[in-house]
Subunit: 536 residues, 2 copies
């Protein structure tokens, strides 16, 4: 051993990484700057930190011990924001639950996570009451009473009086190790029980910082909460905004009018959202689309924005960054890193380049596309493989599910289940979920490739392509298509449109018109469509 | 133990933090962007990464093992930049040696660090030859042959042919643990032998990222190498510039003309330097001061810039950030974090605020000012205490010096030896090095406070105040003053000037005119002045 290696870690030079420190530092350096805007409510960073300290103290007083789970079911309100700091400051683990889940699933999650406390948004009282009746866990229930959304309280204490009972002098509990859990996020699996994806302090810290890097975020951003905080902890942005001493503009309900109001009234310059949010914005009635002087950066995932959307967005003052990730990697961990020289290209070409998911985040170690033996596929833009992630922005694992954890993290990589190609410049492009691929006559068909073509038809509002069982071919592509209001197109015309643009074996054999089912985050739900296709 | 805590680290979700990954990622995403500008030389990130890989391979071929030390004595050339990546890619530890040291000290360092390889700048051949003759270590000597600075080769191989012998397919060695050493930087102690401050991969990674945060650095900065890379690894900026895919404008010799040429010709927008560099810039003859359209951010440490300097800098397009640190904390780890509302204040008031060292870096856990019992001093702007650091940007320790390491890291804090006050807003201000404080009649006098007053006299170019032994008072302040060219002021006038602005016991009793001795990084050297004062 070399002499320089032998020097031991001490309390002076080794401190667990935790994003909670961002709040502490910002509250000390910029105590009077605004942290929260919500309706008429305004709170500074000093006030926010003081409230988080009190809440952490109240949680400990209520019997929360290190490692206990505190569940929150709430819209994007200041309370859910505070929980992202106060819960870890109590040494506990935050479980932010999807507000659109049914009572049975919420009950399952409360039981599986062994929640000790449930902070609930009174607007959601009916479904939460049902969940509490169904579950075995008996969490202490705290009600968020919001005049903007009245509902019946379910517990004995409301959030404000609970918080007020905490001590302002409480010393926050620091993680014993940066590998300690900070949160559990349940995947919105469409089949089977949801899995509890566990995040650690180290990953939350690194991804929160990484968010500032991918956007080269200035100090004091004004961030609009369009992305749900229950979704991968809002991609770690609660901690990011604290790190940059920004403003959190909270929104109970996302609507085009609310977004444009926030842009025009509060100077919002950063927001995240599924493409459905982008569509909502540019599709809004003209009277809701208020002008704003600043450029607003928009981070979007799940589906690449088409050229027409990008062009309209740019015209209004939006600058779109395309990212990709999964709950298991703390939200996005791949970004279509932009090359300045691309700005000189025609907008369609820019859209084509931007439709690619891109490259690993700077602080994620590596993202590759590999064949079934784990070898990288050639960077030919053609050969599909599975997207694998490795690095410190990969989950600890699935709670109480060692088999699924071992499978997901096998061979030193997190297996995403997403299929992609690698372009010659190293940028990856998702072709499909492994389970969504259509195998027709022995050929793989990317459902996304077919969807992209159909989506470019002017009459199409939304589209999903799934496998339909076929005696001769094994499977054939079946398209479910939602048309724009007032638009018309026939099945034959759409298939012909596709045949002009795709290899013929990739074209849908059947088209079903009607509304396409979506998840709470705007993702299209394919399992029910596969079911319908099999019964056509 | 909670179920969510039990999930073990795997190769998929736990990777040692290392700044070497920034080069890998940037070379893959932006291979064709410029990385190096040096005279007529231009290299892209792809080329730079390929050269670093070859150099790492050549080092391993030459017998360098994991943990071995590779020393480099060189000016701010592309070779020293490459060493910041290639040496750790070989699993080795970089020891960048101050180019202005005497042969005896260099020999001491080579022996103490047990250097296996010495890469040397042929311009420095005479002193290196002497050092090699003095030392017991027998490193393999590699010569950097630079047509811009010819000198006699000392070894059997030149850098380019050595590098060319490495394999382009070499797989970089990754640290076994992020606590592994990445570099050793010897403090330029003015008394006794220099101490070898050991940095680890984790700290280098975090400080490199922190540099981007404090400046909210955009992508693709153009960074001018005015700060020596041998100085705390250039405050970790070699790694920062790789992370942001920027341009490194290398400078063999710092001069005002070279700086203005780089600003005007290469669009430099970021640079670091001691106040002496700032003084050199605004003091340069008008014909050397070329205009430039961009704003250039300047990070400066060591002494606060006076109002007049700040005003002149701003007028020319410079935006100065004041930072503070020591070799033991990887360069700066404290920043005078700017409040936007301060921009509305008069320039003198801005200078007063900016003269304070400020607050801990976001990714450094904590910086406090404590009394001798380790308790924080009151934030009254008056009470002095020692500046203590804690966090992941604190050295591993001093190589082969467990006693000094234990003393420096005692009680869970790194003891800086610097004395400071804390202002009511939590910003710290350095009052003195512990050993520079003057104790007169039982009262502590901050030498810096007296210097600041004398420095504000229009005739004064540089000033140092030290303790002079005094039978009655114990010590009294003695000022060494360097006047501006052509300026005149008498001892009596200067003392009167000070008495108008300071408590009388703080005023210098004697003033000595003449050049003030400085270190290679522009810091004033007080020990020889104390010696002279004691003999007055």
């Amino acid at each position: 051993m070399h002499a320089h290696q032998e020097l031991p870690r001490t309390a002076a030079n080794h401190v667990p990484l935790t994003p909670v420190g961002f709040l502490t530092r910002t509250a000390r350096v910029f105590p009077d700057l605004p942290a929260i805007v919500y309706g008429d409510l305004r709170r500074t960073w000093g006030e926010t930190a003081a409230r988080c300290t009190r809440l952490a103290s109240a949680l400990v007083n209520a019997g929360v011990h290190r490692g206990d789970v505190v569940a929150v079911v709430a819209h994007n309100t200041p309370e859910l924001y505070e929980a992202h700091f106060a819960v870890p400051m109590a040494g506990a683990v935050l479980n932010a639950i999807n507000t659109r889940l049914d009572a049975r699933t919420i009950a399952y999650i409360l039981d599986h996570a062994e929640a000790k406390i449930l902070i609930n948004d009174s607007e959601l009282a009916p479904v939460i009451a049902e969940a509490l009746a169904l579950c075995k866990a008996a969490p202490l229930v705290i009600d968020i009473i919001d005049p903007a959304a009245p509902g019946a309280p379910l517990g004995k204490q409301d959030y404000e009086s609970f918080l007020a009972g905490g001590s302002p002098d409480f010393t926050p509990i620091v993680p014993a190790d940066e590998w300690d859990s900070i949160s559990i996020n349940y995947t919105s699996g469409t089949t089977g029980n949801p899995k509890g994806v566990v995040y650690h302090h180290r990953g939350a810290y690194l991804n929160a910082i990484n968010n500032t890097l991918e956007w080269s975020m200035p100090m004091h951003p004004t961030y609009l909460w369009t992305l749900p905080m229950f979704h991968c902890n809002g991609w770690c942005f609660p901690w990011t905004i604290a790190a940059k001493a920004g403003v959190n503009v909270c929104l109970r309900k996302v609507s085009a009018a609310a977004i444009y109001d926030a842009l025009a009234d509060h100077g919002v310059d950063h927001l995240c959202g599924a493409p459905i949010v982008l569509g909502m914005m540019i599709g809004a009635p003209k009277e809701e689309q208020r002008p704003f002087p600043q450029t607003c950066r928009v981070m979007t995932a799940a589906a690449p924005p088409p050229a027409s959307v990008l062009a309209q967005m740019a015209e209004q003052g939006f600058d779109v960054t395309h990212v990709y990730g999964l709950t298991e990697v703390y939200g996005p961990a791949v970004v279509c890193a932009w090359h300045e020289e691309w700005n000189a290209l025609p907008v369609e070409e820019q859209a084509r380049l931007k439709s690619r998911q891109g490259v690993n985040y700077l602080l994620e170690d590596a993202v590759i596309v590999a064949d079934e033996h784990g070898n990288p596929v050639p960077a030919d833009g053609q050969t599909m493989g599975e997207v694998l992630f490795r690095g410190n922005i990969v989950m600890k694992g699935y709670m109480k599910n060692p088999a699924a954890t071992a499978e997901a993290l096998a061979g030193g990589w997190f297996h995403s289940g997403d299929l992609a190609v690698v372009h010659p410049d190293g940028y990856i492009q998702i072709r499909d979920r492994a389970k969504d691929i259509i195998i027709s006559g022995g050929e793989n068909i990317s459902s996304i490739e077919v969807e992209d073509v159909l989506f470019s038809h002017p009459a199409v509002q939304a589209v999903a392509v799934v496998a339909r069982p076929d005696e001769k071919w094994g499977e054939t592509p079946c398209a479910f298509v939602e048309l724009k209001p007032g638009a018309e197109v026939s099945e034959a015309d759409l298939i012909a449109f596709a045949r002009d643009r795709l290899a013929h074996f990739k074209c849908p054999r059947s088209v079903v018109f009607g509304e396409v089912p979506k998840t709470s985050t705007g993702k299209i739900q394919k399992p029910p469509l596969r079911d319908r296709a099999s019964r056509l």
